[in-house]
Symmetry: D2
Subunit: 136 residues, 4 copies
């Protein structure tokens, strides 16, 4: 069994560039986050706002990235993400960032996210509805 891959396009912003003249390494995680927010609303039909209305939020528990080819000023990218697997209180999401101009992979990696109660910060189980929405 495997889950759908979704894609979000976005542009490098000039403030993302560091003194080595390419996108600063930690910004790639911000691109993944932006793509997930977009896809949660647009592709899964259960947005970050839907979680927050229920007093819930997502935090990153673990993250991993491999840098292949840097993005630079003026580049556009495709951020592809997919659910790799569920656990009781979270989900592992794999990502690939592709340079739209060259079609080549810029970076790959994954993030392990945990669902938490916003008031306590404690992890909480995904409901059946959430798992269903994200199992497409």
């Amino acid at each position: 069994m495997s889950y759908s891959t979704f894609e979000t396009e976005m542009a490098v912003r000039p403030d993302d560039i560091d003194f080595l003249n390419h996108v600063h390494s930690s910004k790639y995680f911000d691109y993944v986050l932006a793509a997930r927010y977009d896809q949660m609303a647009r592709c899964y039909g259960f947005s970050m706002e839907n979680f927050m209305e229920r007093g819930l939020g997502w935090v990153v528990k673990e993250a991993h990235i491999e840098y292949k080819r840097p993005l630079t000023l003026g580049d556009w990218m495709k951020v592809q993400t997919r659910v790799a697997e569920f656990c009781k209180d979270g989900v592992r999401v794999e990502f690939v960032i592709v340079n739209k101009g060259t079609g080549k992979v810029s970076s790959t990696g994954w993030c392990q996210y945990t669902l938490v109660a916003l008031t306590t910060g404690r992890s909480t189980e995904l409901s059946a509805e959430m798992v269903a929405k994200y199992s497409i």
Copy 2:
């Protein structure tokens, strides 16, 4: 005499949001910068890369902003900029950031940019070609 206003659309990124749940105040300047880069290439036909090929870059000399209504997570904006006036070694650009969803003004302001030689950091005069390209 007045110059053209150009517009760039972009989305708020989740990493732009601060602990007050709206876009962090300094990020609005990054939106203006991103819009100018886009418009330099797309609207004026003389891009940042064109300046850099000539050993030149732009630095901010002075900036001013008024915050009217905050942008928040999930918002899209229109960043409108126009050349207000030229001086020998620079240009004053006025901007308006409009919330695309509500049509209301989020912030207004201006930036005074100076053209500099990248190797020395010293200000340098705009060429006749540059003034012509940016006088539309």
Copy 3:
């Protein structure tokens, strides 16, 4: 009548540097913000947390900056701020950022801050206690 100037020292972080090899222009506002937070707690004795406990926060209404000499990788700075004047629902703070190594001014400017209720975002009057604490 004039108010005290306070000073906070901090270091440029590598992620503050942009592709022109100096501190990115919008980051100077983040330095001012960091200095104010430090000084609110350490110098005025009425911290951001004290405001938040009362359901209040500060938002920037207007900001102005003049860039004199860029900070670069490895620099330390002194961020000096002082209350310039009070209004009913806010305060104008002037700042000077000094390069600690050279002793020269890197940038100057001011921020007009408005006190807001965190739940509504609406401006609210400063209490007599707040004015007293910040009138030193």
Copy 4:
């Protein structure tokens, strides 16, 4: 054989905080980067500037992080890093970020850095001097 662990103290900046009221996940990598820069100059005696004078720079090839306890507004941290192992053209650095106030671990992880020629971006071998300097 094992290498020395060095430590750099720094404060959370208000602009590091995201809408979940704690330090934004990608910023932890920026703390590690800042700590390495400090330690390269102060502890190893072969600074980033020393590499750049030789036309060399460091890029991140791979990174991994586990988030244990979030840092929040006002926190100070100790960023501890150590060389875990060398390869021909790079080095693996392990890090631990400790909340200075509580003494508890906030996050742990590692970064695989590659030495590159700044003009070409191509990886290049560490010299004997570099290995010696970083083998303490």
